[in-house]
Symmetry: none
Subunit: 192 residues, 4 copies
């Protein structure tokens, strides 16, 4: 388990992670060279390897911190929220926010660059993802139990995830529709 640095403005590792996030999102992991990342940070490619043992580990740590970051945000925003439908709205808003975060840290990488990880890293990230997904299932199951959702929790989560991730391809956070409005619409899809 690594120190969390993604949001640390001063940290050298943090700078690398943020630069990598932008580039991986733009061009994909495979087409992003370590030179690209280093140039974005303002160092030479060799210097990257003082902070990360190899390119893949940059992706791995980025993924880890992305998940942890969303979970943290969800925890904060869920504080005191008891209504299940509102809890779901929080989850959706947090995920959407992570996907379109101003900081440029693209949550969608988690889905698209899955196969770029080696076995070991996949296993590690998978365990984090499982915990994250469990949070969704808990919320959706409660909603279903309340009689507020017609479809199965698992299926609902799949649909929400797909729709949310896809927003990355078309949604403009600076456009007419705000993130919260988008979240509402998505919630209204599965719950009524």
């Amino acid at each position: 388990m690594n120190q969390r640095v993604l949001k640390d403005e001063a940290s050298a590792k943090g700078k690398v992670l943020r630069a990598a996030a932008v580039l991986f999102r733009e061009k994909g992991f495979a087409r992003t060279t370590v030179r690209d990342i280093a140039a974005e940070v303002g160092i030479l490619s060799g210097s990257l390897f003082h902070h990360f043992p190899n390119k893949e580990s940059i992706l791995a740590q980025l993924m880890e911190e992305l998940i942890l970051g969303v979970e943290e945000e969800m925890d904060e925003q869920s504080l005191g929220v008891t209504d299940n439908k509102r809890r779901l709205a929080v989850l959706v808003a947090c995920e959407l926010s992570a996907i379109h975060a101003q900081t440029g840290t693209g949550f969608s990488i988690l889905m698209t660059e899955w196969r770029s990880l080696g076995k070991t890293n996949q296993a590690h990230i998978l365990s984090l993802r499982n915990r994250y997904e469990q949070r969704w299932l808990d919320c959706l199951s409660a909603l279903k139990a309340d009689g507020l959702m017609p479809i199965e929790p698992t299926l609902a989560r799949h649909f929400i995830r797909g729709a949310a991730m896809e927003t990355w391809h078309w949604y403009n956070p600076k456009g007419a529709m705000g993130l919260n409005r988008l979240a509402e619409q998505l919630v209204s899809l599965v719950s009524r």
Copy 2:
């Protein structure tokens, strides 16, 4: 515009396209080597270039034929269907079918490997995609006009596309839920 060969069992180009489709889906375009493709077909890498001028053109033609193929399927299945909700069901079923086609030709490549194309090819595929998306908008607009859909057609299409593409990551065509049942559930999400 190229000859369509994707479904031609005997065609050498067709074999290449089908092999490439499987590999691109499995490992992504960048991580699939031209040798991988050749090996899958049973020829040597140099021979590929008798059929395609370069690696990217394999992806481009594959994408082109994938879109044309779905459109064709949609045309066939829509024949005589006048009810808008049933028309939507046909579109969804066809798209899902393309994503999980037995032939292994992954429609999802269209979204995930978008950035692997150069500018020229992107423009070409984009024009095809626009036509394809227009078909969806036409159907969804009609549904909205019928008062059968609460959300905006554009938004609805984004949600459907996302949810459908995401099925690639979790849905098992040989599992308990059939493709048609899955399509129904997806339709019921946006229309009631």
Copy 3:
């Protein structure tokens, strides 16, 4: 087990092996770059990897063929030789010949570059070396049994090997003393 190509003038792999042998002997494995080897052969560095999966495998195959080559030579020259002291002379002469072979293939690499191999290759070469050393022990044991050698066979082999390998650092095959004369002197050291 690879095809033997070291002595095949026409073979591309053979050319690489011979070039590598010269360079490894001159500068050592670690200080010899793949570009050096390729340049010596007259190709570009990337082309090496059509013939060998990596740099280490060049060394490994070279070592393998060096051992097999000496064994073959020993077999030929031993034909019909029954006297144990003369058999020893043959072994010594063959080993010395391998060390100073005109073809530039340095047998001494076997000792000096041992640690440049990975575990798997070490194991493979080790098995070949064990067989080769057994041949020496058989001969020396017979000599000892004949009462013609005062020291232990194992110790004798160590001494002979060291002295023989060391000739690489000082002996000039084109100088006044011929290889056979050198071999005699070495034999006279352990046997009288």
Copy 4:
């Protein structure tokens, strides 16, 4: 000419030299990184350069001190020894002792890592080596003059050197045969 520090327990330079000796012997000069050495000493790699101007100079000084150390030892042990055969036994014992010294300072580096030095350092070490080899030739010539050795002094030295250096690959100082016994056997090879 540098201060001698190899055997100075407290000296920082001494610690570096001793650590380097172990590693050079284990993995060779080229495969030993400056970080390896620093780690062994317990400092960081950058700090090495407060003590030595570059990596090669570590090897150079190590070699220098190894030669000087053996010479010193030979001087001490030869004190009062007039018999030429016994003088030779002293030389052999000292060289073997240097090769297998408990302190881990491997004399064999002198032969194996010769080519890792640049021209300037090679020249310097060569002059020391020449003096060292002269000591051997003096002793062996005297022995030959006494009629106690059948082969030429130069050749004898080559054989002894090779056999001695080779012991590094097989001899175990903690095994059944002591160093003195080994030295005797080696002496008996050339003199009778």
